[in-house]
């Protein structure tokens, strides 16, 4: 098994090292690192903006680049949270707790150095996990019939919406809304146009680009318009030679890194628990088992090492269910899956065998990308730190232009630009009502396949809904769903106590 894995990996490196692909991988991590550093731009918005540009590219290059943005942004986000105390990206919120005190003590460089080491270690483990686990999952998933696929998707949708931030009930509502938006357009089986209200342009459905850019571009900008505080770069002059941690620091940080990595890779396997939850869990664990828990929050190097390691191992592990089962765990993965679908590639267990270049090329590019990121981040740290002070007023107008022309270029259709604006305003209304729009995209991407498989399952079982509990694998998935819902009800009933616990944790 190891031999075939190595062979495949060798093949993957061949794909990823093609000059063309290498260039896009580099571009991806560069842009990712950049938006990670810039306060006010997230990886989701950036991937959405780049999405239309990938239409003309080869699928491999497109996916390498978009994936690079995702994990590149995690490196950049750490810089922002350690030096500025600005957790612009949710997974790094915990890193602030100890990272910024370290910066104030003049040890920001050391913290960044440890972060890079921890990130690389976490990422490497996550990639290894993917190499061995994904083919195994595929073997299992290839046996699935429509009923199993349906139940599995239900797990993915429920986990993605209930475990994400915000109220779980609202998360589920957003998922259902996403499923409804996925219905818009011509029904594949009967040719009936649904929810188009006589608008011809909607016959092909809502494009993922317009939906993503409306929700994560325009709506987000409306939300942060004139709300960003001025950035304080008082402590952030870090130089290259400050970045090498001492032996004592390394020793202190080593085991937290290992534990963070393992926790992160476990979190990655549970759909819906992305890097954010992984980093919180690992920080809490580290604080609990530490002999000197009182140092946490006042500049403990372990408090930087463990969440960063777990974030990165979870970020890489996130790709496992996406690439092997075709079930995205969070919104970024849904976008990547959308990019593949646009390229005409059907996601699911057959992806690895039908498009080995995409799968193994992607895995190899992870390593190349992570090495590139270390190179980008260590000697060039001074440059990234300077970028921290780019004001928001230059950022969002340029992004708005990219959104407009990107949506237009996707289909050379001005109608869709208007559609994006309308979705953006609607998205802002949702944000103001405390809905988090991320699950919409999850539902949107999975919706058509969910409906198709549900119809097929019903056709095969002659309309007998019992098929979902009679088939053991499907029943197991449904049991997980029940467990997820029961867990949420339990949390809701005990909410006051848990809220206190959570406050104590942070």
């Amino acid at each position: 098994m190891i031999e075939t894995a190595l062979q495949n990996l060798w093949f993957g490196f061949g794909v990823a090292l093609e000059p063309h692909n290498l260039m896009y991988c580099f571009l991806g991590v560069l842009v990712g690192n950049l938006v990670g550093v810039l306060p006010g731009m997230g990886p989701v918005a950036t991937i959405s903006i780049l999405l239309p540009l990938t239409f003309g590219m080869k699928p491999v290059a497109a996916i390498l680049m978009l994936a690079g943005v995702y994990y590149g942004a995690q490196y950049g986000g750490a810089i922002c949270s350690i030096l500025l105390n600005l957790p612009t990206h949710p997974p790094h919120a915990v890193t602030c707790l100890d990272g910024f005190p370290l910066t104030k003590q003049g040890k920001g460089g050391t913290a960044l150095g440890i972060t890079v080491i921890a990130s690389f270690m976490g990422a490497s483990f996550g990639i290894t996990e993917m190499i061995f686990l994904a083919p195994f999952l595929v073997k299992v998933a290839l046996e699935f019939g429509p009923a199993e696929v349906c139940s599995l998707m239900l797990v993915g949708l429920l986990a993605g919406s209930t475990l994400a931030k915000g109220s779980p009930l609202k998360g589920v509502a957003m998922t259902v809304l996403g499923l409804l938006i996925g219905i818009v357009g011509t029904d594949i089986e009967t040719g009936t146009t649904r929810f188009t209200f006589g608008i011809l342009e909607l016959d092909d459905g809502v494009e993922i680009v317009t939906l993503a850019l409306g929700l994560f571009g325009i709506a987000e900008f409306m939300n942060s318009m004139n709300q960003t505080a001025a950035v304080d770069t008082k402590y952030s002059n870090v130089r290259f030679r400050d970045m090498f941690p001492s032996w004592a620091d390394l020793k202190l940080a080593f085991f937290p890194m290992v534990r963070g990595t393992l926790l992160g890779s476990m979190c990655a396997l549970i759909p819906g628990t992305g890097p954010t939850i992984a980093s919180f869990v690992s920080y809490a664990t580290e604080k609990k088992i530490s002999k000197t828990p009182e140092r946490f929050g006042h500049g403990a190097i372990e408090g930087v090492a463990c969440p960063e390691a777990s974030t990165h191992s979870s970020v890489q592990g996130d790709f496992i269910p996406t690439m092997s089962l075709g079930i995205p765990g969070d919104v970024t993965m849904a976008l990547l899956l959308g990019a593949l679908i646009i390229q005409g590639i059907v996601p699911g267990p057959q992806l690895i065998s039908q498009h080995p270049d995409i799968f193994w090329g992607l895995i190899a590019s992870f390593w190349i990308g992570n090495i590139l990121l270390v190179i980008l981040n260590v000697p060039m740290i001074g440059l990234w730190v300077k970028l921290l002070s780019i004001p928001y007023r230059y950022l969002y107008p340029s992004a708005m232009f990219f959104i407009c022309i990107g949506v237009y270029a996707a289909n050379n259709d001005m109608f869709q630009v208007g559609e994006t604006v309308a979705i953006g305003i609607f998205g802002y209304v949702l944000l103001r009502l405390d809905f988090h729009p991320a699950p919409i995209l999850l539902g949107f991407v999975l919706g058509p396949r969910f409906e198709e498989n549900f119809r097929r399952a019903m056709l095969i079982s002659r309309g007998d809904l019992k098929v979902f509990i009679e088939r053991p694998i499907s029943a197991a998935f449904l049991a997980i769903c029940v467990f997820l819902i029961a867990g949420q009800v339990y949390i809701w009933l005990r909410k006051p106590k848990l809220a206190v616990d959570q406050k104590a944790l942070v």
Partner: protein
């Protein structure tokens, strides 16, 4: 500075009001669900064995109505305070207008005048929305982005939007 002001406003609100916003949230979901169910029922629904195109929309619509009821219901049952107002503490009407006006101008100018005026107007109008931006700064930035955008999208990526309508063939 603006950020801290906003935070202070929010925390003052949480102490005095109940979660009224969740009523709106639930109502909105019920409304969308109802719309989906009604519109969906105008398509052929079919049976479980042979589902028509209307089956899924109606089912999802009904689920969304129930979820909306539950959102409003849990807000009613909860004793916690919440933000009552729909608008944020410091509504940015001018900023929002600029942010939406930019893309709208992009559409209009893109159709009638070409890519160069469309990009310029879009960036310029969006930039005016920020309180800290100056007229000069916005002009310089719009010009820069326009040059960059034309080079990238028109020459490099070949987006078929004429640079200036009537002048370029």
């Amino acid at each position: 500075m603006i950020g801290t002001k906003k935070l202070a406003g929010d925390s003052a609100l949480t102490t005095q009001s109940k979660m009224k916003r969740d009523y709106y949230a639930g109502a909105l979901m019920m409304l969308i669900g109802l719309g989906a169910a009604v519109e969906g029922s105008s398509y052929h629904i079919g049976t479980l064995v042979r589902m028509g195109p209307g089956f899924f929309p109606v089912a999802l619509g009904v689920i969304l109505i129930l979820l909306g009821l539950m959102i409003a219901g849990t807000a009613f049952a909860s004793t916690e305070g919440g933000d009552e107002r729909f608008l944020p503490g410091n509504p940015q009407w001018f900023g929002w207008l600029c942010l939406i006006g930019g893309p709208v101008l992009f559409i209009i100018l893109g159709v009638y005048a070409g890519m160069i005026p469309a990009i310029f107007a879009c960036v310029f109008v969006c930039a005016l929305g920020d309180k800290t931006s100056t007229l000069k700064g916005a002009l310089i930035m719009s010009a820069g982005v326009t040059v960059f955008g034309v080079l990238l999208f028109s020459y490099l990526l070949g987006v078929p939007l004429p640079l200036l309508r009537g002048i370029t063939p």
